[in-house]
């Protein structure tokens, strides 16, 4: 439809500004311009030419660079808001988010939460922004790369005069004294790695055309990257779980369908030692009061044999021993276990002695397993201790009653009933850390604190990410594209003999300075004048 046939014989798509083949100006409006717009080789950028249906309108909207830049800028500005206060994944996880923001940051924190800024980067509108950038990438690239490719493939050696004289680098020179000069130029071009096409005495020297595709390659990379990001939402592609495991514990690894178990044999934290690790660190270590050198979990990996269901004692077969350190995850079955966090010296066992307060005499030791205390400790001879109540993570609740916050023994408290031969009905004592309360009046006996045993807990993150290779691929292609487009310039030099003169024109997509220097190098010493920069001439006159 409405294709334009140029006088050179080539048929151009509708809307072409410069003939794809010879460069003659096809659009009336362009004829008066001093220089032609070479950004897309004067090709018909499809979206500019068709604007009829709603589909076209949407297409053109996303094809526009201006819209693209706006999307980038809006994304940039909104990203800033998420850095004002910590995002929800960086605040302590054991209290509700709203509560945290309000208590830490007051009304501002509350507002921040209500606006959804605490989880800004997962909000629907932020995702929509990124998605729009993705859409824009697809459409603007398609819209430009296809016509550009056509134009660059179909260009001919001998360009129309109108084209040549409207190039930024342009000059007309007298024919040189001898043909040898042309041979010199030819050789100089060759030595500067130009590809030379000759036709009827005219020359087109071109190099680094591949650099023009750079932007489109990097756009493809970005699109693949975004696709990878999108795939994370597909179930099964991405797993993110935590596994807290105490020394001595064996636990099922989440997301392995109950197939794999891990035992924490030992958890080690090592600090830098001034003597061992280097005197050179002394000042820094003193200032910081101790710097962690390494922390790792020595674990054993087991595979479940047999068909037990969760809750039953599984039959485990050892697979291997491993050490999990930061930067060195353990890989199991497509999952990776990372050493992320730890808790040192979690209370494990507490020992008490049943003691007569006045005489100080002790009647037996009670060692309580803080994860599951016994109900009754019989000390013989009529002495016994019963655990009436147990609160591993003690607090006074809203009603003022003793209660527990969680099942983790952060702050154990007990209600003991102590029975002895002279107090067979029992005495009640409430015992917490550094606190003993006798709710029913003064007791004769007390539970004296004897000692505590601790264990370290290792915090592992269980991660599966099948989208990583896609993201990696996208990133790689992006880097290739960006390097391809940025570090080389597409340069062309046209040399034509017209009516006894030599017409020279030059074009590059960027770095005119470099092209000009190169032209000087090519034409210096030959009988042909170096072409001038028409923009510079303009600026000088004006």
């Amino acid at each position: 439809m409405n294709e334009v046939k140029c006088e050179c014989g080539h048929v151009n798509p509708h809307g072409t500004v410069l003939c794809e083949s010879c460069g003659k100006i096809l659009e009336e409006t362009e004829i008066d311009k001093k220089l032609v717009d070479m950004r897309y080789e004067g090709s018909a950028r499809r979206s500019q030419t068709y604007n009829k249906t709603i589909i076209d309108k949407i297409w053109n909207f996303f094809s526009s660079v201006k819209v693209g830049v706006w999307l980038i800028v809006i994304t940039l500005l909104s990203s800033i808001f998420g850095t004002i206060l910590p995002q929800v994944m960086y605040i302590p996880q054991n209290i509700p988010a709203l509560e945290h923001y309000e208590t830490e940051y007051g009304w501002f924190g509350k507002l921040y939460y209500q606006l959804g800024f605490h989880d800004l980067y997962s909000s629907w509108w932020y995702l929509l922004l990124i998605a729009s950038i993705g859409v824009s990438l697809v459409i603007c690239s398609l819209d430009r790369v296809i016509p550009l490719y056509r134009a660059l493939s179909k260009q001919r050696v001998s360009r129309h005069e109108g084209f040549l004289k409207r190039q930024r680098i342009y000059g007309v020179s007298d024919l040189p004294e001898s043909e040898e000069d042309f041979a010199t130029i030819h050789n100089k071009l060759k030595s500067k790695r130009y590809k030379i096409r000759e036709e009827e005495g005219d020359i087109l020297a071109e190099k680094n055309r591949f650099s023009r595709w750079g932007p489109y390659v990097n756009h493809v990379g970005l699109i693949i990257f975004l696709l990878g990001g999108m795939l994370r939402f597909v179930p099964g592609m991405y797993v993110d779980q935590t596994l807290w495991i105490r020394e001595g514990e064996t636990k099922a690894i989440p997301e392995t369908d109950d197939q794999y178990y891990l035992k924490n044999n030992q958890f080690i934290v090592e600090l830098y030692d001034k003597e061992k690790d280097g005197e050179v660190f002394e000042q820094a270590l003193d200032r910081a009061g101790g710097v962690v050198k390494t922390y790792q979990a020595n674990v054993t990996l087991y595979e479940k044999k047999g068909d037990t269901v969760p809750g039953e004692e599984p039959e485990l077969e050892k697979v291997k021993d491993a050490e999990i350190r930061v930067n060195e995850p353990l890989k199991v079955n497509g999952l990776a276990l990372y050493q992320v966090d730890y808790k040192l010296n979690e209370l494990h066992e507490m020992s008490f002695a049943l003691q007569n307060k006045e005489t100080g005499e002790e009647f037996g030791d009670v060692t309580v397993d803080l994860s599951n205390p016994d109900k009754l400790y019989d000390l013989g001879d009529g002495y016994s201790v019963e655990v009436k109540s147990y609160f591993p993570d003690f607090e006074f609740n809203a009603e003022g009653e003793p209660a527990t916050k969680s099942r983790v023994p952060n702050n154990p408290a007990f209600v003991f009933e102590m029975k002895s031969p002279n107090k067979p009905e029992g005495e009640v004592s409430f015992v917490a850390i550094q606190e003993t309360i006798e709710p029913l009046g003064d007791n004769e006996y007390k539970m004296a604190f004897k000692g505590v045993e601790t264990k370290n807990v290792s915090g592992l993150t269980v991660r599966k990410d099948m989208t990583l290779w896609i993201l990696g691929l996208g990133g790689l292609i992006f880097m290739i594209g960006v390097v391809q487009g940025a570090y080389w310039n597409h340069r062309r030099i046209w040399i034509r003999r017209i009516d006894g003169k030599v017409w020279i024109a030059g074009h590059t997509n960027k770095n005119w300075h470099g092209l000009k220097r190169e032209l000087e190098g090519i034409f210096d010493g030959t009988g042909i004048d170096v072409p001038k920069d028409q923009l510079e001439e303009e600026a000088r006159k004006g």
Partner: protein
């Protein structure tokens, strides 16, 4: 080895100072209105001294690496000096492409300031915490710093462009904002002077105060407290009493330093204005009178074009790879990562805007300034003010 390292850094610092004056001299040497084209004797000496300084700083880097057992880019001081070194390196590269001595007059001082600023922070060589014990430390941090340094050349070029292009005969929004940039630079200088000055007299004042968790804590101030901590009680006798107290949630010591810098910067700025009798940008004008604006614009653009891929590679790609290995997630939206993204988006927008001729020249120069501000925000505010996985040990 540590001493040698420190000395080499001083040598580099002095070299850059000297080179700046020589570069300045090379411009003055052409006062007769001839177009600045290519180097002259002054410029040649200047670039040689610059290269000597650069080699010295490389020496500091290598010796410190040997002493510490790991690449010296693991705390704020080390990173910032490395950044300064990359800036000088990037300048040397651009100089050899474009042969532009005037670029040295503006770039080297920026590098000097950055190194001086870095020196205000703890310089002890510290061992690496587990998360940093990886080859990726070297790869990610160095490439990111290099990328940022190359991008920063566009800042120097941008300033030059504006100093020449902005009409100083009248007051306008442009002159105001250009002066704001000058004031910011002056504030950095005064920060360095203040901090060094009080450190030289070993000023120290201790405060007992209540921190945001309600616990008792102690603050040691290295400069007099204009702003005091929450319910602070001055322990050291005879020292300055603060005017105001901050709520517990604000780090009063850092805020105090910021206020000192801004106030003293203001004073220093006005002193300069009084001495120079005109705006600072206006007084720099003669230096740039004969520079080709197109060339400046070209250099500004080129440095972004060269730096952008390096920055992407270092600050995003390598960062993501390392984050995945060390923190199990390649992107966590922590403030530093977000600001790296913001920087990246900004320069991407810059490159796209350059497609339109209307954005060449002065508009690009302003954009280059904003871009540098974003980089500095990431370096200073995100590291020191906004806490996170990425914070370095601060002052």
């Amino acid at each position: 080895m540590v001493e040698l390292s420190g000395n080499l850094l001083y040598v580099a610092f002095i070299c850059y100072l000297v080179a700046t004056t020589f570069f300045g001299g090379s411009i003055k040497a052409k006062k007769d209105g001839k177009k600045i084209e290519g180097p002259n004797k002054w410029a040649t000496i200047a670039i040689i001294i610059t290269v000597v300084g650069f080699v010295a700083q490389l020496g500091y880097f290598i010796t410190r690496w040997i002493a510490a057992g790991h690449a010296p880019v693991s705390n704020l001081f080390e990173f910032t000096t490395f950044f300064g070194m990359c800036l000088v390196g990037a300048f040397i590269l651009i100089y050899y492409i474009y042969k532009t001595p005037w670029l040295g007059v503006f770039t080297l001082p920026v590098a000097i300031l950055i190194i001086a600023y870095a020196s205000m922070f703890p310089r002890d060589i510290s061992p690496l915490i587990p998360a940093l014990q990886s080859d990726w430390l070297h790869i990610h941090v160095t490439t990111a710093a290099l990328g940022q340094a190359i991008l920063s050349i566009s800042f120097a070029a941008g300033i030059i462009y504006l100093v020449k292009a902005v009409d100083q005969t009248t007051s306008s929004k442009r002159t105001f904002w250009l002066e704001m940039i000058m004031y910011s630079i002056v504030s950095v200088i005064s920060f360095i002077i203040i901090t060094t000055g009080f450190a030289a007299v070993n000023y120290s004042a201790e405060f007992n105060y209540i921190d945001k968790k309600g616990a008792a804590a102690v603050y040691e101030y290295q400069i007099p407290a204009l702003i005091g901590p929450h319910e602070g009680e001055l322990v050291t006798e005879g020292k300055f009493e603060p005017f105001i107290e901050t709520p517990a949630i604000i780090d009063s010591k850092k805020l105090n330093t910021v206020i000192w810098s801004l106030l003293s910067g203001l004073i220093l700025y006005w002193v300069l204005r009084l001495l120079l009798r005109k705006r600072i940008a206006a007084s720099l004008h003669p230096l740039v009178k004969n520079i080709n604006l197109d060339l400046v614009d070209e250099i500004s653009y080129r440095s972004v074009l060269i730096g952008f891929p390096v920055f992407t590679l270092g600050a995003l790609v390598f960062a993501m790879i390392w984050a995945q290995i060390a923190w199990t997630r390649f992107w966590g939206w922590d403030p530093k990562e977000v600001w790296a993204l913001i920087t990246w988006l900004f320069y991407a927008a810059f490159l796209h805007l350059r497609l339109s001729k209307g954005w060449h020249g002065e508009k690009s120069a302003w954009l280059a300034i904003i871009g540098f501000f974003i980089i500095m925000f990431n370096l200073i505010v995100v590291n020191l003010v906004i806490a996170g996985l990425h914070s370095y040990a601060g002052s």
